[in-house]
């Protein structure tokens, strides 16, 4: 084949869209497919449904190689079809493959003979082999999307992990040509290995987070400061400068928890020992409620008429998403007390609470409250002057789990400043 292979991504949610734009940026003609005609129409107009740094610019720059379709005809002209919808999970960490299965069936029915079909969505081990077809082998490629860094991850991956039913055989030339354009190592492996590789990566990340959370809690009791320890760990080559060592409110987001649930479920099914993974989940559940416990012990037990302020509603900064938001979970559990909230992008109505009011600014949310909790580390909160907060507040208690505020300035302003990992 002399021409570059044509690429298709099925499922224009976060993963599929960012991956399609990345493919176009590498010079490939790319089709973005989705069964939702409205979404496709918006994409054609350049209205992107996800917010990611650099995505709009990259989209516009390579717009000429991108097309979008809600009918399957253009898929027949493609050489590699990635099936890539985001896979939703329920509260128990169980994946819902309904959309993925539908798109996979559609890809199989639409692809021309000789085209390569790759499952890119995250699935539990066994998914891809269970759907293998004799006449058309399916491949599984590990996605390593990170919210907030999706473009960087899609255009400059560290490596590709590609599962096939027989990794001793070379990958289809069209797939290899496509992947080689990214200039990173390609690691062929068994289907089950690739499916488990994604979970393995996330388990390693969770291990780091859990170490940080476990020892940060100990720091809070013995006079140590985890923020002094973590940089030292990152200079250890065996740990590494990019290790996830910032303490947090458990393991944020649902994807990591989904993987823990998957490992536990598989270990139960196969009789393997997974006590460590259960411990990860237990520690996460414990640390998630740090703000709730601290509010009760430091304030609410003695002040039944307390008024509270919460800064940030989204589950992390730079996103509209409130799914699995620790802020909303906290507010839900504070029903007896009036709560004033402010978030740069989400309205107060997102919070389930009988007496919640929205503020137009962080300072307004702090006015006359007895305690202020910074639940999302939005950049604009970093510029808040603790002295101004102290002036606005009725009480002194400030919970800042992510160290968004200047802790020294907060103490200088005579605030009762509390954060993770320090006594």
């Amino acid at each position: 084949m002399n021409r570059l292979p044509a690429i298709a991504y099925l499922g224009m949610t976060h993963l599929g869209l960012c991956s399609a734009v990345a493919a176009a940026s590498k010079g490939f003609t790319t089709v973005g497919f989705d069964t939702d005609p409205g979404l496709v129409a918006r994409l054609e107009k350049g209205e992107l449904p996800v917010v990611e740094p650099g995505l709009d610019a990259l989209f516009q720059e390579h717009r000429s190689r991108l097309s979008f379709a809600a009918d399957s005809a253009p898929l027949g002209a493609c050489d590699v079809l990635y099936v890539a919808p985001d896979v939703p999970t329920d509260d128990a960490g169980q994946s819902d493959y309904t959309t993925l299965d539908r798109l996979l069936t559609l890809a199989v029915g639409s692809a021309r003979p000789g085209a390569t079909i790759v499952v890119l969505s995250q699935v539990a081990p066994g998914y891809t082999r269970a759907r293998q077809l004799p006449e058309r082998p399916l491949y599984y490629q590990v996605e390593t999307l990170v919210f907030g860094r999706a473009v960087e991850r899609a255009t400059s991956p560290e490596r590709f992990m590609v599962g096939s039913s027989d990794p001793s055989k070379p990958l289809p030339p069209v797939l290899r040509t496509y992947l080689e354009a990214f200039g990173c190592p390609i690691l062929p492996m068994r289907l089950e290995s690739a499916e488990l590789a994604k979970i393995s990566i996330n388990c390693c990340l969770v291990a780091s987070i859990t170490v940080a959370n476990t020892l940060a809690e100990l720091c809070e009791s013995i006079g140590a400061d985890w923020s002094e320890i973590a940089p030292a760990l990152k200079l250890d080559k065996r740990i590494g400068q990019f290790a996830y060592l910032s303490p947090g409110l458990g393991i944020a987001g649902g994807n990591l928890e989904r993987d823990l649930a998957t490992v536990i479920r598989m270990s139960e099914g196969h009789g393997t020992e997974a006590g460590l993974v259960r411990a990860f989940a237990r520690n996460s559940a414990h640390r998630r409620n740090w703000a709730l416990r601290t509010l009760h012990t430091a304030l609410l037990a003695d002040k039944p008429d307390a008024r509270l302020g919460v800064l940030g509603l989204t589950y992390k900064e730079d996103t509209h998403s409130v799914k699995n938001s620790p802020a909303l979970a906290l507010i839900r559990q504070l029903a007896p007390w009036p709560v004033q909230v402010y978030d740069p992008v989400v309205q107060a109505s997102a919070a389930r609470h009988p007496a919640v009011t929205g503020a137009h600014s962080a300072l307004e949310a702090a006015r006359d409250v007895d305690a202020l909790v910074v639940m999302t580390p939005w950049a604009e909160f970093r510029s808040l002057d603790p002295a101004a907060l102290a002036g606005a507040m009725r009480g002194r208690l400030v919970l800042d789990p992510f160290r968004v505020l200047d802790g020294r300035a907060a103490l200088a302003a005579r605030l009762d400043y509390r954060t993770l990992g320090v006594s």
């Binding site: 414990h286 409620n289 416990r293 009760h296 037990a301 007896p336």
Partner: protein, 306 residues
């Protein structure tokens, strides 16, 4: 890990039957229900001897369908196999009665002794793996009721309970208070370094009332979330006397307990009853001291104090 069937806590049962109403905890629960204005039927041994052959029939005869039942009757602490079997016999009588006349809501007052020793911090999700006969007794009784009683079921697992009416003389606040009141030094074993959670019996009763009003099912620990060393508890008790009682370390009667400390994470209580807060131990001990002194018609001066 409680689930409320009535989230606003507005349930008002026609009546609540307290089985074991004559005991320290049972009588506090009866008082708590009375304070809350909930009609209560107090069943003590005088009404039904749960070890009698006809216990189930007698208890059944006292019940009407739709009763809320609190089962708190126990021979505690259970330290021997005989006491274990006695307690199981009592539970069986209750379970048979409840199977015949199903309550609308059944609460069992258990114990934190059901948890595995190394679960710190203990939560309602900690493994039930008791290391004592007392813990096994409660775990077995929980299972009996959960399996055989045909009723929405809740378990309250208190930790060490204190109160003015506590008849037990076990190591802890009540013994310390009695020692000091008698003019004796308060004796602590070793340095008294073991840290434990202690809950006021009135708080246990308040939680029972809340669980009834919310129609709660599941498990809740009745624990304050604050663990205090016996050394500090002894000094808190001592400070309530004028002059302060003497605290005297003595040799341990046996080896240091393998369970040196026990801590609890009470997040689930904050979630179940956000505006419920426990009486702090120093406040509770001072209140108990005043109550005992008032009941005895005495001040807070130690016997023998000059």
């Amino acid at each position: 890990m409680l689930t409320h069937t009535q989230s606003d806590g507005s349930l008002t049962p026609d009546r609540v039957v307290v089985v074991g109403a004559g005991g320290f905890v049972g009588s506090a629960i009866v008082n708590g229900l009375g304070t809350a204005g909930i009609p209560t039927v107090a069943v003590a041994r005088a009404q039904v001897d749960l070890l009698a052959a006809d216990a189930s029939e007698k208890l059944s005869a006292l019940l009407v369908p739709g009763d809320v039942v609190v089962f708190v009757s126990a021979v505690a602490p259970a330290k021997t196999s005989a006491q274990l079997l006695t307690n199981l016999t009592m539970a069986r009588a209750g379970a048979v009665a409840f199977a015949g006349v199903p309550p609308s809501h059944l609460l069992y007052i258990s114990s934190d002794a059901v948890y595995v020793d190394d679960a710190n911090p203990v939560t309602e999700a900690s493994p039930v793996a008791p290391s004592t006969i007392h813990g096994m007794m409660h775990a077995a009784r929980e299972l009996i009721f959960r399996t055989e009683a045909r009723a929405p079921f809740a378990v309250l697992r208190p930790t060490l309970i204190y109160g003015a009416a506590d008849p037990h003389g076990g190591y802890g606040p009540n013994r310390f208070r009695r020692q000091a009141a008698s003019g004796d030094p308060i004796t602590i074993f070793g340095e008294g370094e073991e840290r434990r959670d202690h809950v006021a019996v009135e708080d246990v009763a308040r939680l029972v009332v809340r669980m009834i009003r919310h129609g709660s099912v599941g498990v809740l620990n009745a624990v304050t979330g604050v663990s205090t060393s016996f050394h500090d508890i002894a000094h808190m008790v001592a400070a309530n006397f004028t002059p302060a009682a003497v605290v005297q370390p003595v040799s341990r009667p046996g080896p240091r307990p393998h369970l040196l400390h026990r801590f609890f994470d009470i997040t689930s209580c904050y979630q179940a009853f956000p505006d419920f807060h426990f009486e702090r131990l120093p406040d509770g001990l001072a209140r108990v001291h005043r109550e005992v002194a008032a009941a005895n018609g005495k001040g807070t001066v130690r016997v023998g104090a000059s």
